[in-house]
């Protein structure tokens, strides 16, 4: 259905032609009259088209209102124009607001296009990264922030953020996270974590120093207790207390040793070395240690593969030993512990399955916290330090391995460590290869 203005336009045009035709019939030469009328119509139309063109392209003022179709078209142009002006104003205000608010933000933000070029960044980003807003827009960010960790994070942004030293602030540390959004756009959020890093280091240093300082007096006490325990002239009544004291001293020594080990693991940012480790041999050795115990559950070791690991021997031993000794400790002598070393898809898995007391589901995420105990009284009695799984977790991290825990209360637990392919080699094969 045609709009009203067109209907009336046709009516007018038809009337105009009819009038010319009538005049032609009346005065003779109707064809020429018709041609004249059409020419006039064309002239008017062309003139209005010209005005419309100018109005649309250059925003020139529209001609004063005539009537009919053209007047309405021009009024539509005017309406659209004022609408777009209002909209533009609104957007401009919005952009200004956004800019102002992001400028007030403490964290840096950079908008990147798919080619990693900087589209925009806020003032905090300029300050934290030492960018130059005037010249750096359009430059690739990885040309300016060249830290290898950052560059690899930019290529595959995982969920985690990376920590890089600030190029602009001496001794500053930044945490950068890349968030994809929209169509191939990416947002980099930069946070200043200098203070957090410093606090964390202070805390670590404190724990390390305190442990070291406590160790020497403890050694002295232990030495005297040992001498006392073997002193035959000692009153019999003192036997039990001294034996108890010795037990407690050795427990404290164990805790301190674990604490020092844990701090060392935490503070080294490097990956673990790549020494050749014969896993099969190591596990057999650990098995022997536990099998000989009197009140221990049945232990079986199953080898699905004889792959060897590339890692730090002491750390891998501590991982295996801690996990096996945990399983043994929390399983009754009637139960059993299955240790397996198998190759799976992309990596090899070391797992320990026991029929012990198990871990309540809601506590599983917390078991790797230091000094966290599912059942405080019991595990202390069994001689645990509360640091074993924390050490395991950190040592695994240094080997690029992951820890998974499945457990059911009363049924037992399955703890698995998955080592990545690049840390595995064939046993007896070349000591260095793969990856």
């Amino acid at each position: 259905m045609l709009p009203n203005r067109w209907v009336s336009h046709f009516v007018y045009a038809g009337a105009w032609l009819a009038l010319a035709l009538l005049a032609g019939i009346w005065l003779g030469n109707p064809a020429w009259w018709l041609v004249g009328a059409l020419a006039l119509y064309l002239a008017v139309t062309l003139r209005n088209l010209y005005y419309l063109d100018r109005a649309l392209e250059k925003g020139a003022p529209v001609p004063p209102a005539t009537r009919g179709l053209w007047a309405e078209l021009f009024s539509i142009v005017v309406r659209l124009r004022s609408k777009s002006r209002k909209r533009r104003k609104r957007y401009r205000r919005l952009v200004r607001e956004v800019r102002q608010s992001t400028r007030a933000l403490h964290d840096g933000g950079i908008i990147l296009n798919p080619r990693n070029e900087i589209l925009w960044c806020n003032r905090a980003a300029v300050r934290l990264l030492g960018l130059n807003l005037a010249t750096d827009v359009g430059h690739r960010i990885d040309n300016l922030i060249r830290n290898p960790d950052f560059v690899s994070h930019l290529e595959n942004p995982g969920g985690d953020s990376v920590s890089i030293p600030s190029p602009a602030m001496e001794g500053g540390q930044l945490s950068v996270q890349i968030i994809p959004y929209g169509k191939n756009q990416r947002l980099a959020i930069i946070r200043d974590i200098t203070r957090e890093v410093r606090l964390e280091r202070t805390r670590r240093d404190f724990v390390a120093n305190a442990s070291h300082e406590l160790r020497s007096p403890l050694t002295v006490i232990g030495g005297y207790l040992d001498a006392l325990a073997h002193d035959s002239g000692l009153n019999r009544d003192w036997r039990t207390p001294i034996a108890e004291m010795e037990r407690q001293v050795s427990r404290m020594t164990r805790i301190l040793r674990d604490l020092i080990e844990l701090t060392r693991l935490e503070s080294s940012q490097e990956e673990a070395p790549r020494d050749f480790i014969d896993v099969v041999g190591m596990l057999k050795f650990i098995e022997r240690e536990f099998v000989s115990g009197l009140r221990t559950p049945r232990i079986s070791v199953h080898f699905g593969t004889d792959l060897a690991l590339l890692g730090s021997e002491a750390e891998v031993h501590s991982i295996f030993h801690n996990l096996v000794s945990n399983a043994v400790r929390f399983t009754s002598p009637e139960g059993s512990v299955h240790v397996r070393w198998e190759s799976g898809e992309n990596g090899a898995v070391f797992s320990v399955k026991d029929t012990g007391i198990g871990i309540p589901e809601e506590l599983i995420p917390r078991v790797t916290e230091r000094f966290f105990r599912v059942d405080p009284g019991r595990s202390r009695e069994l001689g645990g330090t509360g640091l074993g799984l924390a050490i395991v977790k950190h040592a695994l991290q240094r080997h690029g391995a992951t820890l998974s825990i499945e457990s059911e209360v009363g049924e037992g637990s399955l703890i698995a460590c998955r080592f990545p392919d690049n840390r595995l080699v064939a046993r007896g094969g070349p000591a260095r290869a793969v990856g």
């Binding site: 080619r115 070029e117 130059n132 010249t135 750096d136 359009g138 430059h139 690739r140 990885d142 040309n143 300016l144 060249r146 830290n147 290898p148 960790d149 950052f150 560059v151 030293p165 190029p167 001496e170 080294s268 490097e270």
Partner: protein, 246 residues
């Protein structure tokens, strides 16, 4: 990134190749910066393990150099670039050589750090050396920034800073000599120390060269072996010529 000297080409692949070279050089620069940082940290924190790991991972830098070199040769052979494109390739090939040498010096510093970690440290904990290292670190960063941004001004600034580094090296060297004369037991340590300072001074020279290559790439003026004032006037002239040509 749209480097100014990368003109638009009908072949988009060619453009991409040139950009790739530019980015690879800067990636390598990032790697070298990281190596240097870790070597210096190894000295400051007396971390012999870290020092050795720096020395061991120098091969990454070398591999990268070989890779970029191959890529450049491939482009030279297949595309026969001219003018700005040729300058970009030539500058890249020269810059990676400098970067590789900086990597070598960082390796040396790493080794020295692992040795210095085992000896008794002076009460200042090598403050002069750390100071020098901070300057040199800034120079590496600024020279690579100048290379990335084709920023002549920043390049010239780095070349000026090299003078300070030379003076500081001189001061450390003299101080080491004094220590050695006073107490021969410190000779081993002080020798290592002045070797490290020497390595830093050499790195400063290499960053200066990188700036020269960056300026060459941006303007096409070869400013090697000419005095700084000459360079400045030449560059500003080139700048004017360029402005006029637009």
């Amino acid at each position: 990134m749209e480097v100014e000297s990368i003109s638009q080409h009908t072949s988009r692949r060619f453009n991409k190749d040139l950009e790739g070279i530019h980015n690879l050089v800067l990636n390598m620069g990032g790697l070298v910066e990281d190596q240097f940082d870790r070597a210096i940290r190894a000295i400051a924190e007396a971390d012999s393990e870290l020092g050795l790991s720096v020395a061991e991972s120098d091969h990454q830098v070398n591999e990268m150099e070989v890779r970029i070199d191959d890529e450049c040769r491939r482009i030279l052979a297949t595309r026969a670039p001219t003018a700005g494109d040729l300058r970009l390739i030539v500058a890249a090939m020269k810059t990676i050589t400098e970067l590789e040498r900086i990597g070598d010096e960082a390796e040396k510093i790493g080794e020295l750090a692992s040795r210095l970690a085992t000896v008794k440290r002076p009460s200042t904990n090598f403050r002069e050396l750390r100071n020098l290292a901070r300057h040199v670190k800034g120079m590496i960063r600024d020279s690579l920034d100048a290379y990335a941004r084709l920023d002549v001004q920043q390049g010239l600034e780095v070349m000026k800073a090299d003078k300070v580094v030379d003076e500081e090296y001189e001061a450390i060297y003299r101080q080491s000599l004094t220590f050695m004369l006073e107490d021969p037991r410190t000779i081993t340590r002080e020798m290592d120390l002045s070797w490290a300072a020497r390595a830093l001074e050499r790195i400063g020279d290499h960053t200066k060269n990188i700036c020269e290559h960056a300026i060459y790439m941006a303007h096409g003026t070869d400013i090697r072996h000419s005095s700084l004032t000459n360079v400045e006037s030449e560059v500003s002239q080139a700048g004017i010529v360029k402005e006029a040509a637009r």
